[in-house]
Structure formats: structure tokens, C-alpha cells
Chain length 192, copies 2
Amino acid sequence: MYQQIDTYVNKCISLSKEELEYFHSLLQYKKVKRKSFLLRAGEKCDFEAYLVKGCARVYYIDENGFEVDLLFAVEDWWISDLASFSQQKPATLFIETIEDSELLLIDYKSKEALFKKVPKFERLFRLMIQKAYETMMDRLIANISKPAPQRYQDFVKKYPTIPQRVPQHLIAAYLGVSPEFLSKIRTRLSKT
Amino acid sequence: MYQQIDTYVNKCISLSKEELEYFHSLLQYKKVKRKSFLLRAGEKCDFEAYLVKGCARVYYIDENGFEVDLLFAVEDWWISDLASFSQQKPATLFIETIEDSELLLIDYKSKEALFKKVPKFERLFRLMIQKAYETMMDRLIANISKPAPQRYQDFVKKYPTIPQRVPQHLIAAYLGVSPEFLSKIRTRLSKT
């Protein structure tokens, strides 16, 4: 159960067997079906979840009732509503699985206890959030200024497995285009 | 020179006098006039800069040659092209001061040395990047789905001193509206 997250952790920091076991003891394993909600807006988000297997999306519902996808997550990604988690306030985001998924969750108190007992984890989470920040920055730049075909190409490059795993209408919504227009882009690109 | 950054640091972590002095020894003080470039796209960004005094903007130039502002920074903020800095690759962003500014810079090697010698700084930089991530997420959500007057109100709430310090056309560009439309929004809001 922990093999994958241990490989992930070992890429960033070196831990003793005891430190690793302490980390494991703080994690909660969760196996959920596709289309399960891990979080709904309004709830307090008391987890950061590492995706062992599966796929999930993070979205919010705008003032007109439309779902707006902010990011898709696959194996080795962490998902959370970070503002809700770190400030312990109600979430604004929804987190829903797209495939049957397995996750390892850490709650707020456990994470703070982990930092206190094994400060090396500060580095792991710094590098994790740094990567997420860079992804978010790319998304913002793409959203503001890149034409849709290039947004799609960048998306496929960044998330090579997602087009096969996520329904087309969700990818279209993520890219800010209609499903019909996305279909046209894919056809055009497949010919080049 | 270090009083302000020490106050900032002490809010997050507790340091001994020796640790604080070591930190200071790694910082480079820089005083620049307004409209100075700290970074241009294509260069390697070898700094994270803490703003002691002044105001700066981070932007990129899109395919049509337009400047797109990603964020404004004032006292107590850090600025960098993080992807360029952390991966030591060419920058895609420009960083330019809007006011005469004073900064404290740390370069890549010094930051890694700092983490090695005083690992507590991992926490400081984790919390810093986490705040930046939340700001970027808010900006993305606002950009995708909030109407311009609300984007302006949120902006003023988040950066109360900026409307007095940053030229109107830059704020308009940041919000994705024309300067004329921003002027109308401000007039309308001032009457309510």
C-alpha cells in the first residue's frame, strides 16, 4: 500500500525506517468509486490526499451555476482545497473522482505533528506546492493569452494520459471551449 | 536594513542569533529606481527577491506583443520567476519596479546552502509559496468567472495600497479590461 508514496517521498528526502513508519501511521487509506465526492464547497477540507491510483478533478461552481475545472490529478499528485485546509475555513472547491481511486489522506493535525517530529517533511511539501504553483501559473498564462489549439497541445504535453481517461466535455470545459470546438481541434491536430 | 525581513521571518520560524546572521550573510541588498528591470524573459532568473520597500510587477509578453501582468508585489512579498529559478532554465517572465525600490536577494546556491545549514527555512519558504499559490488560484478563478467590477473589488481588498501606487492602465490590464472601462467601474463603485 505504501510502496508508491515511499518512492515519491524518497525522491525528495531521505528518511530512516522509523521516520517512514511514523509517516505511514498518520495516513488514512481510502478506496472510492468513480464519481465520488471527496469534498464539497462549504465543508471544511481536512485533508491533503495523495493519489495512489485513479484520477480526480478539482472544480468550483461559478455564479451562473457552471462547473469550472481547475485541475485534474492522476497518480503521484496531491489534491486538496489548500486555502480551506491551511486556514481551516470552509472550502470553495469540489473534489470528485473521475475513475475508481485509491488515496492516502493526511489531516491538518497529523500534518502539523509530522512537521514537528520530522521537519524534513517541510522540504517535501515545499517542493510539492512549488510544482503546483508552477502548474497554476502555466494554467493562468494559457487561460489569459494562448489560442485554444495551443492550450490543448500544452495540456496533452503536461498530462499525457489524461485525454484517454477524462471525458471530453470536462477537458473542453477546462480549456474554456465547447466540446464541438475541442473535437475540431483534435481532428485538425491528428492530421498534422 | 534587516529589521523588516527579520520581523517577517520571526512570524514563521524561531531562529538563534547565529542562524539569523548566517541568513543575512547570504542576502544581497539592491536599491533600484522605478522602471528598473530585475529580470527579462530569456535570462536565467537567479534570485528570489524580498521587497523591503517599493512596488514591482511581474508580467509576460504574449504572442501579440501585449504585456500581461500576473501579479503586483509590495513590501513583504517575494518576487521571482520560480520555474526559471528552481529549474535553472531561461525565464518566461519580466520583473520591473513600479516605484523606487529596495530589495534583498538570495540566489539559488545560497538558498540551497541555507536549507542545508538551517533546515527551518524550508518551513518559511513552504508557507511563502503556499500563500503565493492561494493568490494565484484566486486570480485564476477571478479571471475565468467573475465579472470585472467584482474582480476590481476583490483586487482592492487583497491589495489595499496598490490602486494609489500603480498606474491605472496596468491595473486595467491585470483585470483584463480597458482603462476606460476600469474608470467607469471606479466611478460607479465610488457612488455606492
